[in-house]
């Protein structure tokens, strides 16, 4: 069924910290490595070792230069882009075959590649470019939120997280239930004013992005003195010399 569930028991998703992301592409690389052998496997490539390599990836790490007027300093923002597992996932409702679906139990959006006819309409319906067409297989592929890791009882409990989250060296990616207001991810969103992407389109994305913190430009921003003054000795030989010469 490509009708969306009225409500999902959980809203599993990611919180991505744009303040700490260093743009190293480790999330994208580890995602590709895990998922080319996982639920959506394989993530095929065309010309992988030739001039114009092109392949299926679930994560793409962009970087932007943000100018913020004359008084504010500019920013470099590293921006990892992946499926947001939207509440109003139009990629699911447009699917004519029932290959796309959103799970009631956790809100994860998945593709059944045995039913997919490769019409690409879901990729047109996604504002965020989360779905990529696999030319070799003739079907659409997308992020599974590492469904084969997060419920995998053969893994240690601390490893039951999406590959992108586990590998992030900057701790910029967080995984959890965004329907639970007491979860760590929900608290992060509340404390850091997490934002959805393109909310004006009405997709209600589950994933949230934490905007860069206010930049600390002045010395006083970090508790330092605004102006450094010369240190003068108060006692001892140099103090005596100072006093004598100051007369």
């Amino acid at each position: 069924m490509t009708s969306l569930p009225h409500a999902t028991n959980k809203k599993l998703g990611l919180v991505i910290d744009l303040d700490t992301c260093v743009g190293c592409h480790a999330c994208a690389t580890n995602c590709k490595q895990w998922n080319t052998g996982g639920h959506m496997a394989p993530l095929t490539d065309k010309n992988p070792y030739a001039k114009d390599p092109d392949g299926v990836w679930f994560n793409r790490v962009h970087s932007f230069e943000v100018k913020r007027g004359k008084t504010n300093p500019g920013l470099t923002v590293n921006f990892p882009r992946s499926c947001l597992h939207c509440e109003n996932a139009a990629c699911v409702t447009v699917c004519p075959t029932g290959a796309s679906y959103k799970r009631v139990e956790d809100g994860i959006v998945l593709v059944n590649t045995d039913k997919c006819i490769g019409c690409k309409l879901c990729s047109w319906a996604c504002p965020y470019g989360a779905r990529e067409y696999d030319e070799n297989e003739g079907v659409m592929k997308k992020c599974t939120l590492c469904i084969d890791r997060i419920y995998n009882e053969t893994l240690e409990i601390e490893d039951r997280q999406p590959a992108c989250v586990l590998t992030c060296p900057a701790g910029a990616r967080h995984f959890g239930d965004l329907a639970d207001p007491d979860s760590d991810v929900s608290k992060l969103v509340a404390n850091r004013a997490g934002r959805p992407l393109m909310p004006e389109l009405g997709y209600k994305p589950t994933n949230s992005y934490l905007p860069p913190r206010a930049r600390r430009v002045e010395g006083t921003d970090i508790g330092a003195q605004n102006k450094l003054e010369a240190v003068s000795p108060r006692k001892g030989f140099l103090s005596w010399v100072d006093n004598m010469l100051s007369r």
Binding site: T97, G98, M140, M198
Partner: protein, 314 residues
Amino acid sequence: MHPAFSVIFFTTTSGAGYGLLALLGIFGAAGIIPSERWFGLTGLVVALGFIGVGLLSSTFHLGHPERAWRALTQWRSSWLAREGVLAVLTFIPAGLLAVGWVFFESTSGFWGVMGIIAAILAWLTVIATSMIYRSLATIFQWANFWTLPGYLMLSIMTGALMLGTIVMVFGHGNRVIQGTVILSIAIAWVLKYVYWQYIATHKSLATPSSAIAVDGAEITPLDPPHNSANYLMKEMGFSVARKHAEKLRLISHVTLFALPLLLSVLVYFTSGPVAIIASVVAMLSSWLGVAVERWLFFAEAKHTVTLYYGAQSV
């Protein structure tokens, strides 16, 4: 958006076919065109032929055409599935209309009702096609009021030009049909003009700032996420130079509307070989024009994902 040849061919060909089928059904039931066997056979073979070839070509761009039957299952949520279901359903009254027209030389009574039902289903199919595009919030140039009437009216118009030609060839030309042709061209021209004005003066609320959830006066890409073009850039990032689009619009205005309108007015006031030749030229011109129009419909559509790849607005 990348203008895929199979989709352009499908929407224009089946659009014209459904337009012709609907007019045959209505004018047949109304007794405005004769219930003569060979005329009916020709009209319905052309209409159903265009529809069939169009539908078949729509499966060519699929990754798995052998699974196309699955596309009929999700009509509860998907306009693409609804289009498929309506397309299949239309063949039933259309087939019965053909039975009445060809075997019994009758387009009244039960056969007339079939004609009307075929017309309604044909129009609903075209509306479903337009709703596939109309319902995509990602593409502002499609998700607006003018997409649906544009698709429906161009279907009626290209179908009317075909019907005008067929009745002329069979010597059944009459003023109601020719009037319909002229009127449909005029309405379609106005709708398409308004559509082009609308997309030139309005744009999506989505911005680079809302796309990355960071406020800024100017947001420009720094390092690319990948070295060579990926699926998203090839499929959604297709761009056509503004100058190029202006020329193609001009070609559309002339071949799709101006020339067919002029020739149709000529047909209205003439008869014999002049009228037949004018009808045929008007029809052929509209085919070229509608293909260019549909190409532009795709090429001028800006997907929100391009905001991540340097577009400043969509």
